[in-house]
């Protein structure tokens, strides 16, 4: 009852016919507007991206030459662990949720997300979780150093930092589950009349499936780290062979979450690319239905391939064979997607503005990451390259050149809609070329390092690996600095720049381009009719 009065109190200072947002800091803290929350998610993830990036540069600084230069090995392990956790849970995932918040209501013609208050909580849970992770660096013993996978028995040791990390993951998981339930419900129940599922924009489709994956696997992660917590402090023996448990069981449970998780980080990227490529090829997306089926197939297959992360931890040959073939099967729907994008470009009237550059860059470099994934899937090869820099190169090709480049592509594509201004095309192109060149300088040599046998997660290495490591470190600093260009482009577009109309891209399609730019604070208060 007091809460209802609270609303009355609030409405006194709020002009009901005023269409702009309320002002001040409390606008952002209390907002129920999907565009505000989307903006919060995007800025949060960018700050986390820079934070995780600084940690990565700390890693590359140490690895610039053999020997121990800057960090002791314990702190180095904290750097690799926190870099992974922050990038996965703080940067990439929230960035895609930011896109979902901004775009899904606009693309399906809904006034907002289904649960606007819960939407606010999904975001504001990320902040305490991030604070816990940052605090953990400064407690006795430092942050968790078990690697982002938090494998037992590493994670059943260590001090307070590990516990703070576990609770941070719990809170982030709650945030993800609430966010995903909101997204699924919005997509299933709030589409404008006439927009059947098979007329829905690809970005919504990919997010629908991503959200389903999140709801299915985030609770499994919560279960796994809860078992770690009770093993640490309450005497259980889940991951302790002396008590009848098994540390390898942690890996099974973790990767049952972890493998769908990697598709959680790439499917929305596929969605973004499926909007950008048609817009700049000025053609319809080739094979829409097959894209939907491919996305669904990837999601289903993602549940039965987890053990390819653990070929060397001991499993029967039949298990290795099953997981090898199941993993290779994923190349089929992924291939469908890549060929569909290429077919979309075929004989298109193409131009190469920054979003398209990032999209084409994505297709090229992500596919290379996909191929190395196929190589890693082959059990006998994987046994050679497990835990080497080859794996590091592989997943950075799909995560940086995949997820991150798609996020850049999407930002450049929709930023005119968000800010009402065209971004600086020259700086955008510079950002792209700097990113893709430095990216390859950083990560391409890692393939050679891995094949030559350099293990990952070590602060020091044999001198034979020195040259490629020096090159990779130079590339990493170049890549890191290039991202400041992106910050400048975004800030410039927010402050000013050429004004744009409803639809700044000639080939763009979808309901989001039928509303003014910048998109008004409230859109589609009456649902549009979709033919």
């Amino acid at each position: 009852m007091s809460a209802v009065l609270d609303q009355h109190g609030h409405s006194h200072g709020h002009d009901d016919h005023h269409h702009g947002p309320p002002s001040g800091l409390m606008r952002w803290v209390m907002t129920t507007n999907h565009k505000d929350i989307g903006t919060l998610y995007l800025w949060f993830s960018f700050i986390m991206f820079l934070t995780g990036g600084v940690l990565a540069l700390g890693i590359r600084m140490e690895l610039f030459q053999p020997g121990l230069q800057y960090w002791n090995p314990e702190f180095f392990n904290q750097l690799t662990t926190m870099h992974g956790l922050i990038m996965v849970f703080g940067a990439i995932m929230p960035a895609f949720v930011g896109f979902a918040n901004w775009l899904i209501p606009l693309q399906i013609g809904a006034p907002d997300m289904a649960f606007a208050r819960m939407n606010n909580w999904s975001f504001w849970l990320l902040v305490p979780a991030a604070m816990l992770l940052v605090i953990s660096f400064f407690v006795p013993g430092g942050a968790t150093a078990a690697g982002w996978t938090l494998y037992a028995p590493l994670s059943t040791q260590m001090g307070l930092g590990m516990d703070l990390g576990i609770f941070a993951m719990h809170i982030m998981g709650a945030s993800s589950i609430m966010g995903s339930i909101n997204i699924v419900t919005t997509i299933l129940n709030m589409r404008a009349p006439g927009m059947t599922l098979m007329k829905m924009p690809m970005f919504c489709w990919t997010w629908l499936i991503t959200a389903y994956l999140l709801i299915a696997v985030m609770p499994v992660l919560a279960g796994a780290i809860t078992m770690v917590l009770t093993d640490r402090h309450f005497g259980t023996s889940f991951f302790n062979a002396a008590g009848g448990g098994d540390p390898v069981m942690y890996q099974h449970i973790f990767w049952f979450f972890g493998h769908p998780e990697v598709y959680i980080m790439i499917l929305p990227a596929f969605g973004i690319i499926s909007h950008v490529v048609p817009a700049f090829a000025r053609k319809q997306l080739f094979g829409y239905a097959s894209m939907v089926y491919a996305t669904s197939s990837i999601a289903i297959l993602s549940f039965i391939v987890w053990a390819h992360h653990m070929f060397t931890t001991g499993m029967p040959a039949s298990g290795q064979l099953f997981f090898m073939y199941a993993t290779m099967l994923i190349a089929v729907p992924t291939g469908v997607k890549v060929f569909n994008w290429i077919a979309t470009m075929w004989k298109g009237s193409m131009t190469f503005e920054t979003p398209m550059l990032f999209a084409v860059g994505f297709i090229f470099v992500f596919t290379m990451g996909g191929f190395t994934g196929l190589i890693c899937a082959v059990t006998p090869i994987d046994i050679q390259i497990q835990d080497t820099y080859y794996v590091v190169a592989h997943f950075h090709y799909v995560l940086v050149a995949g997820s991150l480049f798609a996020l850049f592509s999407g930002t450049y594509y929709w930023i005119p809609k968000w800010t009402g201004h065209m971004y600086d095309e020259g700086l955008g192109k510079l950002h792209f070329w700097a990113s893709i060149i430095f990216f390859n300088i950083t990560f391409f040599p890692m393939h050679f390092l891995g094949l030559a046998g350099m293990p990952r997660r070590i602060p020091d290495y044999a001198t034979q690996f020195a040259d490629f490591n020096a090159i990779a470190s130079v590339g990493a600093f170049g890549f890191g600095l290039s991202q400041l260009i992106f910050l400048v482009v975004v800030l410039k577009a927010i402050k000013g720049g050429a004004k744009v109309g409803d639809k700044p891209w000639e080939g763009a399609e979808g309901l989001e381009w039928t509303v003014p730019s910048p998109a008004p604070y409230h859109t589609f208060e009456t649902a549009p009719q979709v033919k």
Binding site: M1, A3, V4, D6, Q7, H8, H10, S11, H19, P22, M30, T32, P111, D112, A114, F115, A116, M118, N120, W121, W124, L125, V127, M131, L132, I135, L160, D163, L164, F167, H170, I171, V184, T185, L188, N189, I215, A216, V217, M218, P219, V220, A222, G223, T226, M227, T230, T236, S237, F238, A241, A242, G243, G244, G245, D246, V248, I253, F256, H522
Partner: protein, 287 residues
């Protein structure tokens, strides 16, 4: 109950005003996490932060759900909003199923893989006397214990939970037929059955610790037994709290025969914990 509609609220949609409940919840969870993490390491602020955070969380839940109940009774939720609630509750229960799946999976893995492997030839050198037979506390935990069988407390508890599902359905039909007296009575009976269940479970735990020497630290058997039944008991507690809130609302005259999703959502949740119990009863107590 005439809170002003925010922009975007049309007959079909409901968009709430800016709200301070979420940030309060975030502060509460931050304090709880910090408190719990420091407490288990014997550090400051430990239990203090946890207690303050928990109190704040309870206050937040009370206020937030109070707001929702007020909005619902104020007629702010259309049929479309009702469908949204239905989808979201279904997906929430699905996420809970997956949470339990992790622990059921751990039990399965221990029984089918890790325990037999500990008894195979490779390990004979390390633990020559270990018999890979369920139930076990593992090769290194020497204390003997008695496992928990299905008779009689778990069987009585099964009967209690199944009956509570029946009484809850009777209450639901009474609500649909607008028989408020029957509704209130059978809601009370459902909650009573749930509370008795929890009482029996508390007794069972005390019995396990004092008579059977069965503890959380009793190797993999104790770990899986207490974590599975414990998380289930926690969910029964949450479900019972939901039912109590719904019962109080019933007595205050809330809900209409054709508009009572809070009731149905709590009932779905109750049936969910019921089904999880059946799984536990078979897999943990019988097998």
């Amino acid at each position: 109950m005439s809170a002003p509609a925010a922009h975007g609220s049309t007959p079909d949609y409901f968009i709430p005003q800016p709200s301070s409940w979420p940030i309060k919840g975030s502060i509460a969870l931050f304090l709880m996490a910090l408190g719990a993490a420091t407490w288990i390491n014997g550090m400051f602020p430990g239990p203090w932060a946890l207690a303050i955070g928990l109190a704040f969380l309870v206050y937040m839940l009370f206020g937030w759900f109070g707001t929702v109940a007020g909005e619902s009774e104020g007629g702010r939720y259309s049929g479309k909003v009702d469908v949204s609630f239905r989808w979201s509750m279904s997906w929430f229960i699905f996420s809970e199923v997956m949470f339990f799946a992790a622990f059921f999976g751990a039990l399965y893995y221990a029984r089918v893989f890790s325990v037999p492997w500990l008894g195979d030839l490779d390990q004979r050198l390390l633990w020559p006397d270990f018999k890979a037979q369920w139930p076990t506390a593992g090769p290194e935990i020497a204390e003997s214990f008695t496992p928990m069988g299905p008779f009689w407390i778990p069987t009585i508890n099964t009967a209690l939970l199944l009956s509570s599902g029946v009484t809850l359905t009777i209450a639901h039909h009474a609500l649909k037929d607008n028989k408020r007296g029957v509704l209130n009575l059978f809601m009370f009976l459902t909650i009573l059955l749930g509370v008795v269940f929890l009482g029996f479970q508390a007794y069972e735990y005390a019995h396990a610790y004092s008579d059977l020497n069965l503890k959380l630290s009793t190797g993999i058997y104790g770990s899986t037994f207490f974590m599975l039944t414990g998380f289930h008991g926690f969910h029964v507690t949450v479900g019972a709290i939901m039912l109590i809130v719904v019962w109080v609302r019933c007595m205050k005259g809330h809900f209409k025969p054709d508009h009572h999703f809070a009731f149905e959502g709590a009932a779905w949740y109750w049936h969910f914990v019921d089904v999880v119990w059946l799984g536990l009863y078979i897999v943990v107590y019988w097998m």
